[in-house]
Amino acid sequence: MTVPLRSSAQVPSERLEEIISGEGRIEELSDSELGSEDEYEDMGTATPEEQANIAYLECVRIPIHEDLQTSTSKTQDETLKVILPFLEGNPNEFTLNSHGISQLQRKKHVLYLEDALDDYPGGFAMMDASRPWIIYWALQGLTALGEDISEHQRRTAHTFSLAQHPDGGFGGGYGQLPHLACSYAATLSLATAGGEATYGSINRKTMWHFLGRMKQADGGFTMCQGGEEDIRGAFCAMVLLSLLNLPLELPNDSPARQQGLTTFTDNLGDWVSKCQSWDGGISAAPGNEAHGAYAFCGLGCLSILGAPKETLNKYLDIPLLVHWMSSRQCTPEGGYNGRTNKLVDGCYSHWVGGCWSLVEAATTTGIWNRAALGRYILAAAQDKKGGLRDKPGKRSDAYHTCYNLAGLSAAQHRYVYDEGINKGLGEVGLGAPFRWKAEGLYEEDTMWDASDVVGKIHPVFVIPFRAVYECRRYFEDKEGF
């Protein structure tokens, strides 16, 4: 047996010297393919902020060293080397907030997302089926940054009117087959854009039939006809049923009816339950590996099915799930990874970070480290050129921008499930998600200033609260389809 040795963890003063000399760090950055286009200058001696950051990072390191190197540990070591300078210092030369961390670069991110809504050259044909996503990520990111997006309202409605399929649901664009992911992104975009004409552009009756075709006898949903069945389908379908206030009975032409099912929610909780894996996380489909994004889909689905306190505890082993979610927070990085022994990635700020509000509504509050997540997002995930990213060395994109900001919102705000709110809304038919409210800001040991705080985001639908409640209200007031 090889007994692993406990490391003589590098003492802070040594790391400080590295910073002070500065040279090593600059080489690390410039000779890698990572971030090669950015230029960083010698920062001279360590500032008090840097010294504080370095001391903090030493504190949260796990002081255990392992000798065995494998592909996983090598990748992790190399990645950390690229990330650390951003957590220690300020290679982007952003203005620092009062905690010595980069300020939220609001204006840059707004410009970046506005640009994402603009035209793309022909070389972007490969994202032809993902355009609903790009629009959703950009609109959602903009509202999180506090932007008024009403100027995009008419074009949003028009864009998705082209992608709506005559047989129900939305595709990626004109003439594309309906798909649950596209329908999800389209509907959230339309709800965010708001306005009665926008809501009215959604054909709910054909959507209901489309969802009926996706429902499977085992309780889950396929993403499209003849397509894969996974937990994204279960989540997206529930979002659509709830937000659009659709009937829960399966349409007569739903194939699942032939298998004896009568409603959309039949066998659904049990199916999600089967997706909880041996280590506590949630996977794409029964038997697959636990994964952060699928965990959010599973929890989101159950949080629409009923009050989290009931549904989560009924269908999941919560202590095991919390153990797994907690383990996703990387140290010393502070951001989340998506699977055991994988790398930190800014998008899990939402996929895992966003799970906490749902789980805390079923257990108790104060289980996770919000400050560390905020630190990762502000210090490491912001791109110098605008937009947010997976990690230093990667380019920003609309996807990572949207989900880093959503994660930041989850860290900054307290989202609470309250049976007492929104009386008269969602009294029948998947009404649980209309019981959420933001109950002030998280203010202990924060890493952000007031100007770094992003907007409130509905923890299940991941669009503004206003959009959620107005959209559902509109469809509740509507008679028939």
């Binding site: 392992e66 065995l68 022909g122 074009r155 992911a181 992104a185 907690s326 996929w351």
Partner: protein, 351 residues
């Protein structure tokens, strides 16, 4: 610009390889001209093709307003899509449709509509499925993180009814990306579809993947699926349980701060309905409350906290283990460890 450079992992969470494309294509957008470094054949058009002269393409209709995030399609892509919409509208399933889908897939492999229509065409025409798999192989190797390709493969292999050659293909894919979620999920589908649970080679292969990188959680997940997870809730036999415990202990001894085998061990015990205390002495090899300076695994401390909590009158030791985690061996999760401490007193009240 190499498509093998697929890295940006989360693209697959929803639709296909978007994020990595974004990375690559942003460069183009920022001023590079689209003089591709792909060795691309010259553009292919249909309007002057004799074989297609009976088809009237359905052009994209953007209505009166300019859509958001609009793509200025190349003439080639735009025309091919026009012909696809036309054949889809007339429900045409033919050889030329197969050629058309191949052409569009080469320009946009994330186009689920085209993949679905291709699958339907193959089925309608009764094409030899083996040929389709052979066509698919290089495409799959080029586009590792693509939902459509894997689902298409699954559809074809399911219809073919034989997993022959698939294990080798999966291994080849994993050599390029050993934690690829789609590939592992596909492997689990193969095991279930062709009932390979008791296939010794499958277990040995999984073991070789763990040997190659004991921290590869995907490989541990596959092992669990083979041994327990895929078997409809049947508890493992005493012999299998013993074998798994011993195997996992060996793995932990190689790298004790690796969470995968610790989780696996707990999973095996749970499935076998054995108490966690079964491995108490093993855990204390890596963390002993009497020697708090010599902890070799925070996961051992975590497990010991659970074991002590289950013992009569040993909440204090459980607290001590959780304190060590919160203050010294895993402080980023201090809130979580303190929450676990809170649960200890709750269960005391309940008792």
């Amino acid at each position: 610009m190499s498509l093998q450079l697929i890295r940006s992992f989360i693209a697959n969470i929803f639709l296909s390889p978007f994020a990595f494309l974004r990375i690559i294509l942003l460069r183009l957008r920022k001023g590079f001209t689209y003089t591709s470094e792909y060795t691309m054949p010259p553009p292919k058009f249909y309007h002057d093709d004799e074989a297609w002269k009976d088809v009237e393409p359905l052009p994209q209709d953007d209505g009166g307003m300019h859509p958001l995030a609009a793509i200025a399609y190349t003439e080639e892509y735009s025309e091919a899509m026009g012909y696809l919409r036309a054949v889809m509208a007339s429900n045409e399933f033919s050889e030329r449709v197969l050629g058309l889908t191949e052409h569009i897939i080469s320009m946009n492999p994330a186009h689920y509509t085209v993949w679905l229509y291709r699958a339907k065409t193959i089925s309608e025409l009764g094409k030899p499925l083996q040929d389709e798999i052979e066509w698919l192989n290089p495409t799959a190797l080029k586009h590792l993180k693509n939902y459509q390709i894997w689902h298409h493969r699954q559809t074809i292999i399911d219809a073919l009814g034989s997993p022959e050659g698939e294990a080798e293909f999966v291994s080849q894919m994993l050599e390029k990306d050993e934690k690829n979620y789609h590939v592992w999920s596909y492997r689990q589908w193969l095991v279930k579809r062709f009932d390979l649970f008791d296939n010794l080679e499958e277990l040995q292969w999984t073991e070789s993947m763990i040997d190659a990188d004991v921290r590869n959680n995907s490989a541990w997940n596959h092992r669990y699926y083979l041994v327990i997870g895929g078997r409809e809730g049947h508890a493992p036999s005493e012999e299998v349980t013993k074998r798994e415990i011993e195997y996992t202990k060996e793995a932990i001894r190689k790298a004790s701060q690796n969470q995968s085998p610790w989780n696996y061990l707990k999973g095996i015990l749970r499935a076998a309905q054995l108490p966690k205390s079964t491995i108490k002495s093993f855990a204390t090899e890596f963390a002993d409350l009497e020697a708090p300076d010599d902890v070799y695994s925070s996961h051992a401390l975590d497990l010991l906290a659970d074991i002590y909590a289950e013992e009569e009158n040993n909440k204090e030791s459980a607290e001590k283990a959780l304190d060590l985690l919160a203050t010294r061996y895993d402080p980023i999760r201090a809130n979580y460890w303190n929450y676990r401490k809170g649960l200890l007193s709750q269960s005391e009240v309940a008792a």
